[in-house]
Amino acid sequence: MEIVEILFTASFWAAAIRIASPLIFATLGEVICERVGVLNLGIEGIMVAGAFAGWMAVYSGTGLWIGVGVAMVVGMVFGLLHSTLTVPFGLSQHVVGLGVTLLATSSTYYAYRLALPEVTTPPKIDAFQPLEIPFLSDIPMLGEALFSQTPLTYLAFILVGIVSFVLYRTPLGLAVRAAGENPNAVAAQGLSVTAIRMGAVMVGSGFMAVGGAFLTMSAFDSFFFEMVNGRGWICIALVVFGSWRPGKALLGAVLFAAFDALQIRVQQTSFGTLVPYQIFLMVPYILSILALVIMSRRAEVPAALMVPFNKGER
């Protein structure tokens, strides 16, 4: 079978890791938000804004890493907006999240039109190039799949480790998890639930924006409308699939990306040409829904997810 052969090529796994990278950033961001008790449906729009901001910064002449930083800051600004409305004001996280997505998307398009009024095809930048890690990249299969990626992909994997460490090993991470489990417990220990929640949502939103920036600065080299195309919503499903744990979310993202990479390749096989290409494009979304259905039974939802905290109210 052609399909089985595909699974054993290094280029297939390299593509899967590449496709997974933006999802890892954004899923990690959403994990942080939900772990602290805030559902962030702004994710889709924040990814759009991050994709544009990072790319635009580089296009205006900054370095690539500065571009990543700009994307992060833009994401954090939207995170600040989201968390101001949902944390101290306790507004509906559903409505505010969708509102932030609409605002981030429309303001990105507005800014794009202002910055590049005349262009018909978006200009290109010199994007991140693959960085072969000495020795490791020489390992057969694994080397090409894992260690010949761009620096942003490595950053995604490193970040998973850092976030896991912070969440499970440090006092700060404990406070974050506690705020998502029972904010009253956090307040009773003299900590500010508002500050912890807002800070976590801002950092998480920053990661989402970097996930978007991966698309324009590493996977491709220019910015298109609609380029995020529902990836944010998929990440929401991945968070559930990963049981709100960074490591499992990483696994979910790679698994998901492997299916995605597979469908792209199957499309080009003799079997694939018989099937309308839309069927293949539906696969990621259908997988996400299936993941939700399978995991919804045993998922350990943070107990205070979507529960606003108002001091002095029980």
Binding site: V95, G99, S107, P276, S288
Partner: protein, 349 residues
Amino acid sequence: MRLEPITDPSIARRLGFPFAALCTTFLIASLLAMIAGGNPFSVLGLILKGAFGSQFAILETLNRATPLIFTGLAVAVAFRAKFWNIGAEAQLYAGALLTVLLGTGALPWPSAALLPVLAVAAILAGAVLLLGPAILKTRFGVDEVVTTLLFNFIFLLFISMLLEGPLKDPMGMGWPKSERLIAEARLPRIAEGLRLHWGFGLAILSAVMIWIIQTRSTLGYEMRAVGLNRQAAAFAGIPVNRVLLKTALLSGGLAALAGFSEVAGVKASLTLDLSPGYGYTGIIVAMLALLNPLGVVVAALFVAGIFVGADSMSRAADVPTYLADMMLAIALLLMVLAIMLTRFRIVRD
């Protein structure tokens, strides 16, 4: 800071904050227009003129408001029961699909028989489409926000597949486009020579009917009870899951009518750009209307006015039309904040 409920908010408070939200929206829009190099006053003036400045403009606004009333009602009905249907976009296309399937000659009937059948078929299609996420929610506890959102992508790909396959118009010169509706399947104009079709009338009628259902029927009472306090509703014996399923059917059906009305009233055929996000904009409409079905009509006119006005402003003042989308997103966020502030007071402690 802390939020303290106000037991009996004054009229001034209840009107003042939403009004301030709208004013702030326009203020921010002016600043944004200035960034784009436009004169803030003339930009806002151009939007107003473009939306309501002439008979043509007003009719255009009413036409644009029609699908928004339907999707706004769909969202308002669902959100009232705290059923988060974000899939009105897909349900709209489901309605459009059925209209095209049955209205391009499959049923060679006169208008009086055909149009009601098309409308009912569209309603059923939208209702069935939303039933999936609703059952996933009630049976498996899967969050409907994500499933309805993902359904939008899946269903649009499905439509694209049909338009490039079995539904493709052989005379369409290669465009992914369905055949045109037969004349009997077109919604007539409200008055001869007036560019406004009866879809608008149907939208107004739907709003009134939903209002009556919500205030007078046991179903409306149940939907409000489930939305306000699911636990108390269940304790009192209201069949919560059954109410949620009924809500989904109603909501999906309403969103599908937007597709029926756009195809039968305006476009005559199905394309992938039938809706520029009417399903998502319906959320803004519903929230601005405070989920009140009659308010949806007003909010839809406001939102449609901003879209139509921004289009003509953009041509005149060289400010990107995305200003309209930004204004609406800002209006949405400020409005939910304002509504909260009508019921709570911020206390420092």
